[in-house]
Amino acid sequence: MENLMTVEHLKKYFPVLGGVLRKKVADVRAVDDVSFQIYAGECFGVVGESGCGKTTLGKTLIRLLSPNAGHIFYKIPQEVADAIRALEKDNPKSRSLKYLLREYDHAYISGSRLRKLRRHLQIVYQDPTTSLDPRMLVKDIVSEPVVSQGLIRGSGVIERVLETLQMVGMGEKHLYRYPHEFSGGQRQRIAVARAIITKPEFIILDEPTSSVDVSVRAQLLNMFQDLQRDLGLTYMFISHDLSVVECISDRVAVMYLGKIVEQAKTEEIYKNPMHPYAQALFNSIPIPDPTRRRERAPLSGEPPSPVNPPSGCRFHPRCSLATNTCEHEEPPLVDVGNEHYVACYALSK
């Protein structure tokens, strides 16, 4: 499959301010050294508990947040990426490296160049009641991206809005209404229409179904799949609802405290989770079948604070397989075969 986005050693820290002078006293390591690839046309699922950095990762990828370090190569020639990697190794302070980063690395692009890129990268937020402006009409909400990007002017705008609304199963009669007049499912459709109106290539779906009912959820998910097929979209599906991710994603990454601990194809990872955290996570999904009730031992404790994450493997205080090595060294994400990556010392030995 064609590579759409390559992420390398991405880091995003948020400063914690303290003291009288509001100086930086610590960092919240929301995303800490994360690397992965997203292929064109796939749906890449990211799962994890709240506070593990899923949303920050998504926002950083489309540059709503600027990363502290790392690279995001979005549709650039392989040679350029190689050149950047080589330069960074040999001569990290050279001017040519700076130039290349500014020109090509999506993590460092800024100004009008970034503005142009934004139309290709969109996001749908979790809660449409807060992501839609209550004082704007639907037509204004949906047309805002194309108008501000200057893609269409004049009477073409309303045509495009209508066309887009029809794609998400809404119509002309909804144009002159306010968000509060719609149900949760319809509001999410409006949010999706706003995201696809610029004809993007990559959309981040940040828990798009967590605020709607079961029956509406299925409608939305079907719509996402239809849109993906019709418009050739690539998704990054962020969710904590593991059963939905299982059905919609092609590949899944499990995050824990700002790190990817396991990444594999969906069937593979759901059938055979290897990292102890992933095992515990998949094991705690309630199965909708009373005959398969299990006596399971849930994971004890709660995730530690990302301000001061544990040394070494971040999961070691809660892990049953932890050894001395886990306490001191950070396990790398290694391929255990069949595109299955795990970051755990107990397994890679």
């Binding site: 309630p286 005959t291 849930p298």
Partner: protein, 385 residues
């Protein structure tokens, strides 16, 4: 069925008076909660599940108003209609015999009081006699060891506590409570309450309960805050516990912990639980029986095994089919929930149902027992067909 149930809801009608019209939120709901069972209450948003659970505590908030109906609770062999009790009696029932766990633990806790303060409120309200007994026993113990001035103070304290137990309205006691410094004698009873709270927090697997007790809600994680709320609701070993989506705002791993905890506690103190949720996975894991609500009506009541194996109501079937399965297309229920301002005359599921008959449009189906312990409100299943 009637005699073994702890709470029996009979023909409950509840309306909301809004600017858009009268919303008929509950339209004749009847079901019973048996002793020692976990009853799941399942439904979508707006199906009336939260309103039902709140009515069991006789909490009806305007613009909601109760039209008719009865909720019988069975306390120590006597039956009371909770909806006709006065406020003073209700205050004695709520928290002691029936208590509730709310959906959002952070919203349920008061942000300006410590967790310990909030839990101790339950003890002071419902179990004051027990607390006083403990305090007096402790004071007697101390009195034996004390001597000199300390002994005099202890003696005075003891007499005050005995007064508090026997004659709480005595003038001298009230005077003492008003005088600064002297009213510090009350600290002893707080220490006693604290001991009991540490005990209960420990039983809920909270690490380091003596520290947690002095924390404010914002210092706790979601799972920990929910445990504190559970501690509060279990303080009096209630015979009936209402859990209104207690794990919806929590992560799956924490959810698994809390579910296990609730199941363990249920085994230990034999309380009945009304578990309100929309998550069919959670229902399958925890509940014994299930009530399916749709648009203010009971659609189906059944044992959890029967319900998942052989759902009879078309809505239940559709709900179970809408659970995502890998490799299948997502199945949704077509149409939307009808407006409850002007509900359909016949079956409320008519517009979305695949098996409609002529009478579904005009005649409202009644809840009928089609198999042993399996009730369904659907015209398809009348007359044993």
């Amino acid at each position: 069925m009637e005699e073994e149930s702890v709470v029996q809801i009979k023909d409950l009608y509840l309306n909301f008076y809004t600017y858009d019209g009268v919303v008929k939120a509950l339209d004749g709901i009847s079901f019973g909660i048996r002793k020692g069972e976990i009853l799941g209450l399942v439904g979508e948003t707006g199906s009336g599940k939260s309103v039902t659970s709140l009515s069991v505590l006789s909490i009806v908030v305007p613009p909601g108003r109760l039209q008719k109906g009865q909720i019988d609770i069975n306390i120590k062999g006597k039956t009371y209609d909770i909806l006709s009790l006065n406020d003073a009696t209700l205050a004695r029932v709520r928290g002691k015999y029936i208590s509730m766990i709310f959906q959002e633990p952070r919203a349920a806790l008061n942000p300006v009081y410590t967790v310990g303060d909030q839990i101790s409120e339950v003890y002071f309200h419902h179990r004051k006699a027990e607390l006083l007994d403990n305090t007096i026993a402790q004071l007697r113990e101390d009195l034996k060891k004390a001597s000199g001035l300390r002994r005099t103070i202890r003696k005075a304290d003891l007499s005050l506590f005995e007064k508090m137990k026997n004659n709480p309205k005595s003038v001298s006691l009230r005077l003492y409570m008003k005088i600064p410094l002297l009213n510090r004698f009350q600290n002893r009873i707080k220490t006693e309450a604290r001991k009991m709270i540490v005990q209960i927090l420990k039983s809920l697997n909270i690490p380091d309960p003596a520290r947690v007790i002095d924390m404010y809600p914002h210092e706790l994680s979601g799972g920990m805050a929910q445990r504190a709320v559970i501690a509060m609701s279990l303080a009096c070993n209630p015979m009936m516990l209402i859990a209104d989506e207690p794990t919806t705002s929590l992560d799956v791993t924490v959810q698994a912990q809390i579910l296990l905890l609730i199941k363990d506690l249920q085994k230990k103190i034999h309380t009945s639980i009304l578990y309100v949720t929309h998550d069919l996975g959670v229902v399958a894991e925890t509940c014994d029986r299930v009530v399916v609500l749709y648009a203010g009506n009971v659609a189906e009541i059944a044992n959890v095994f029967d319900l998942y194996k052989k759902p009879l109501h078309p809505y239940t079937q559709a709900l179970l089919e809408s659970i995502p399965r890998p490799g299948h297309k997502f199945v949704s229920i077509r149409g939307i929930v009808p407006s409850l301002v002007d509900p359909p005359k016949g079956c409320r599921f008519y517009d979305r149902c695949d098996y409609t008959q002529e009478k579904c449009l005009n005649v409202e189906p009644q809840l009928v027992e089609v198999e042993k312990d399996h009730f369904v409100a659907c015209h398809l299943h009348y007359g044993g067909s």
